[in-house]
Structures are given as C-alpha cells and as structure tokens.
Symmetry: C2
Subunit: 387 residues, 2 copies
C-alpha cells in the first residue's frame, strides 16, 4: 500500500517550510524567546475582540455573502481611499479567509500547469508554494543587498518574463527584507505588465508598517487603472494583531467579481460573519492601534538593528518597512544550521534565510514586533553566540 505517493507529484514535492523545521527543533524549550514567526507578541486589541463577541451574540453565525458582508466591503473601500488616496468601488473588493487564501485564489484564476510567475525575492515561502500547487513555475528575481538596502533591478525583472509568464508577484513592504518598492517603479512595472498582457499580484500586507513617517507604503492601486490586470492582496493580520483570525481581502478589476463569487464559494464558502464584523471594528476604530504599533515597532527596530550592527560579524541595515531584521552573519552559509545552533546555545528562535528563496541563504530573520525587555534579553543572548 503506497497511498502516500499516489497524489499529484507536485503536491507531494511541496517543500516543508524551513521556518517550521527550525521551530519544531525549538518548540517547547523552556525560556526560549520565539522571534521566528511573522506575528507580534500582543493579542488582538479588546475593541476588536469585543466586536467579535457582540457579533457572535447578535447571530452573525449563519452562511453569509461569499465575497464579504456589505459593511466590511464598504469599510475597506473607505479605508483604501483614506490610506492610499484612491477611490475603490465596492465591486472591486472581495473578502477572503486570509491574505494567503487571496493569493491561492489569484493563482487558481491565473496559473495553469507550466505557467510561470515572476517573483521578486527573497520572499516568504508560501508565495512560491502557491504557484507550485497550481503546477506553475515560480521564477525568482533576486534582489541584491547594497549599501542603501535591498535593490530590485527592474530590467532583471522584465528579462525574467518570457512567453509562459502569466504574472509578476511583488510583496512590498517585503517579508523578510522590509524593502519598499518606490512608486515610480510600481508605475514602470504596471506599464510593462500592461504592454505584455501580464497580471501583477501585489501583496501589500505590510503597507502600514513603515518607519519614514508616511501613512502607508505606496500601493499598486496608486499607479493602476481600475481595469488593469492587477490583484492587490491584503490582510488584517499584521496591522491589527489579527494573525489568528484568518481575515484578508483582495482588490481586483470589477469584472472578476462573478468569478470570485464562485471561486470563494468553491474554496472555503466564505469567511465567518462575526469575524468580518470584527474586521469592521478594526478598520473603523483601529487607527490609534496602528499608530501605536508603528511606534512600538520603530523602537524595537532601533534596539534590534542597533544591537546587531554592534556585532562585527553581522551585516544589517535597518529596512524602511515591515517588522523584521533580516541580517547576514559573516562566515555563516547554512542558515538552518545557524538558526538551530542559536536555539541550542542562546534559546532564541529565528527564521532561517533559506526559507525565503535565492538570496535568502546565509541570512536570518528576526521579527521584532515584541516587548523591548524581551528583545533586549534576546539581543544579549545573540551577542554571546554571534559576537
């Protein structure tokens, strides 16, 4: 009986996340400081939790609209208008059970076996995996780390697009790099995609986590027409400490509405109504929380990047967005081995760079959305191993 092999080879071959491999090595160790996952250490704020409780009591527990309840879709339109200055009509919005689900739905719409998606990397591993689930081929376009931080060579991105390319995937602000694509580059990518008939999938989950005083990082919405082949993916996870709620959304051309109505129906049959009502509270009352989160992360980033920069073997540049320090350690080329050693010797949990594709190997990712005293302790421990 070889049931385990009689599934699609591409699904069998999906690589386990190297982050999970490392986390499994460290899980449950007493005193370990876990900074490996992409989530903060604060629970969802009370006003959101109370909105969920209220919605459960009020009976938002039945089947509901596949593309999202009207109050949430309308709140999202207002939010995008407010944050990015772009009017987005409600028929462009689809609520999903996470940013991940939105990306999977995007791939299901676009990628046939053998189709290629050009992916700017280093990037979180699930993006390339979602392409592979469809039998597609992710084509990495690695950025380089210069003295001004991570840089994407647009000519290299465009050269990676061939006859089988269906889409360009950009995650800005980027996980794990914190890189932010300039608006002018977004405009050039959109123009290139338009000319070549390609789709752009833009993962803007970290848009609010920027440290240069802006309200948000640029969005592809700001450089695209409503009918452009653009799918913007977003999530409540990072802005409003809702990682465990599984709530996201996508913005597409309105013409895809009926298709998404079906595709959501056949993928998950929608998102719980009471979770969507919690999302309404997040959008409508959540700006102070976002501002506090950015301030908290800014202090954490200063602490972490400062402490890392003081270690002679470490190469680190504070990134302008997201909530990660992504740093190289001189002489270290095997990031899984290094992350494992750091667990064993320092009781700090970090994500190995190998998880994030080409250009990630040799680096480590540290999520600094955490209490300062915990980070201080972690940095002291790291200094003893990496110093």
């Amino acid at each position: 009986m070889v049931a385990e092999f009689d599934i699609r080879p591409g699904i069998q071959a999906l690589p386990a996340s190297a982050i999970v491999t490392v986390a499994n090595h460290g899980r449950g160790r007493e005193g370990l400081i876990p900074l490996w996952f992409g989530e903060g250490d604060l629970a969802t704020p009370d006003f959101i939790r109370e909105a969920a409780d209220r919605a459960i009591r009020d009976g938002h527990v039945f089947y509901t609209y596949q593309r999202g309840v009207p109050p949430l879709r309308e709140a999202l339109c207002a939010y995008l208008g407010r944050v990015h200055g772009v009017p987005v009509p409600v028929d462009r919005i689809t609520v999903t059970t996470s940013g991940m689900a939105a990306i999977m739905n995007a791939m299901q719409m676009l990628v046939d076996p053998g189709d290629e998606v050009a992916v700017v990397s280093p990037v979180w591993p699930n993006v390339m995996a979602a392409v592979r689930v469809q039998g597609g081929v992710p084509v990495e376009v690695p950025m380089t780390l210069g003295n001004q931080g991570w840089v994407l060579d647009l000519e290299q991105l465009f050269a990676a697009c061939g006859p089988r390319t269906r889409a360009i995937f950009v995650n800005s602000p980027g996980n794990p790099t914190g890189w932010i694509m300039p608006r002018e580059d977004m405009a050039r990518v959109m123009a290139f995609a338009r000319e070549r008939g390609l789709w752009v999938i833009s993962d803007e989950v970290y848009a609010r986590l920027v440290y240069d005083g802006r309200t948000a990082a640029p969005s592809f919405l700001e450089v695209a027409d409503p009918e452009d082949k653009l799918i913007v993916v977003n999530s409540f996870s990072k802005n409003w400490a809702m990682t465990g709620w599984r709530l996201g959304w996508m913005v597409t051309p309105a013409a895809l509405g009926p298709v998404l109505e079906n595709l959501v129906q056949f993928s998950t049959s929608g998102t719980p109504g009471f979770i969507q009502m919690a999302g309404v509270a997040a959008i409508e009352q959540g700006e102070p929380w976002v501002a506090e989160t950015v301030e908290r992360c800014r202090k954490a980033r200063d602490l972490v990047c400062g402490a890392l920069a003081a270690l002679p073997r470490v190469r680190i540049q504070p990134a302008p967005g997201a909530f990660y320090a992504f740093f190289q350690v001189e002489g270290e080329t095997d990031s899984v081995a290094l992350a494992t050693r750091i667990i064993d010797e320092a009781l700090v949990g970090l994500a190995p760079g190998a998880a994030f594709g080409q250009g990630g190997e040799g680096a480590l990712r540290l999520c600094y959305a955490s209490r300062l005293d915990k980070l201080e302790e972690a940095m002291g421990r790291l200094a003893r191993v990496l110093g």
Copy 2:
C-alpha cells in the same frame, strides 16, 4: 481592456449556482419563507458561542497549528470512535476551514487537468465545481428514484471509472436526495477502488441526521483500512448549527499528514484557534443538541413530506437522511422557472433541482430544518401553487 477574459478559461466558465440565481430573485422580499439553503433556522447554541467568546478572551488569537489544535484533533478522534466504532489515530485528522475547504484540498492533492472524478448525483453543485477548478472532469453517475427511494446502481458507478479516473466521490447521506449508501455498498466501492488504485472521497457531513434510530449513517471509515486511499470529509455546519463558522475536518491515511500540513499552510494557513475551541465544545458537550436537532428535523420531515404527498402533482418519498425534501412536480421540467414562480406566487424560497446535476432537473429542494409553524405556513402556500 479585456481583463475579465484573461484568466483560466475553466475558472471563467465555472457556473454560478442556480440556487444563488433563484435566491437573488427572492432575496429581501417581505414575508418570504426561505427554505433554499442547506442550513437550519436556529442560531448556534449558547454553549458553543460561549466557548468561542472564552477562547477569544483567553488569547486563542495567534497563528496556530496548521492541521488543527491538539484538543480538537483529539476530540475528533474520540468522536469518530464513539459514533462509528472505529479507532482513528490523531495523525489521520486534519482540521480545515470547512468541509468545502477539505474537498478543495482533496482535489488539489488528486486532480490534474484532464483527470476524472466519478460523482454520484444528484449532488450539491460545489463538488463538481471543485473538480473543475483543478481542470478536472466530473463524471456524473446519476441515481434513479424508485419506489424505495433513490437507488445507486454500483455497476453503473464502476463502469463510469475509466483510465483517467482518479477518485470516486460519494456524499451519503446525500444532499439533496437524503439517500444513504448501505454499508455493504460502501465495502464494495472500497474494494473496487482498492483493486483499481482509485481514491474514494466520502462527504459525510450529514452522517448524524438520520431518521431510523441509528446514531449515524454508515461511514466509509467502517469498511476501510487505515492505509486505504480514502479521504473522509466532514463539517461542524449541520450537526451543531455552525454553518457560518467555517469549520470542518478530514480523515486521510496518516501518510498524507505532512502533505496536508503544507497544503493547509498554502491554502488558508489554518483555522482560527478560537473557532477550533468552539468546535471542542461542540464535540464534547453537543450530543444533546444533536439529539434535539434530529427530533426537530424528524417532526419537520413528517409535516413537510406529509403535506407534499397530499398534493396530487407532487412525487415525494421521505428520505432516510439529511434535512431536505427533494420532490418532483408532474408536468414541471424547468426547475429554475418553477422555483422563480413559487417565489413570486407563494413567497416560499426553494432550491431548483437543476443545481444538482443530471437527474436533478424537474425537482425542487426544500430544507426543512426549520420551525414547524413556519413550515406549516410554507406548505399551505405551496399547496395553493402546486395543488
């Protein structure tokens, strides 16, 4: 700009549910009695809602185990042992964000473009759609309605399996028919699948809604070995009035565990922890609720089937399972037109049989999981149109 057509043709071509088409015609009409969807009219019971509230307060709001939190997976093992008398180890259980998501994950594991899945029909439309999302071909095996109710000809099912067939899909108790596959037939199907190297996907969402005094309808788990190519799909929606919570599970060979760990990660990245804790309460404290639900449905079924049988043009047989009356009306061949007319003339919302594939056209589906006085009123109205 023709963005709307530049997606995979198979996704563009996914048919909208005929149920939704009819519901859109009737939605919002004052006084309409909606019996079109597959959900009861009772909200989730308090002990489940309170468990969710508690879990939200207790901080189950972070990322969690991709295949489900240990307390829920263990509760499900105990449940399956108790209800079906089959020991199921925890490594065979994967929690999903609905039965639908479990079916989609199953299709993602098994179906390449051009692959066929033999589907016993009439069946709820999402099953065939999930095959199509993968580029696969659903091959319907229509049952026939005899004097003893719906009958599946196993020889016909086996004959429908050819060189491209990857799986047999069975939904028993069936939506919309209420048909229950006998255990001996399940054993024969499993043996055939084993011999031919096919998978069996068994949707057992209505297993507890049976009206012959049994605890549950037979499960394929009862006739299969742990290593058989069997995927059993289930959900909290129907048994515990949790349609809007999006919580389901699947039982697979243990060998698929690591694959599902990845596939859940890349599809939805898991199910909210607090919803899973609500599921634990449903399993551990929910038997009285299930018993009450079955009793309530039994009375509703008697009322509805009796009233329908009294109409000379209606052909109805009380089905042994699920919570639908699925009935033909003499001289009516266009079920969408008929359902539309019933909305206009009787203010009752029914699902058109055409939604459920071959053998469904000409019939109507009525969900009787509803208050008796409401059903009585609905039956009076229907009598005036169909009598």
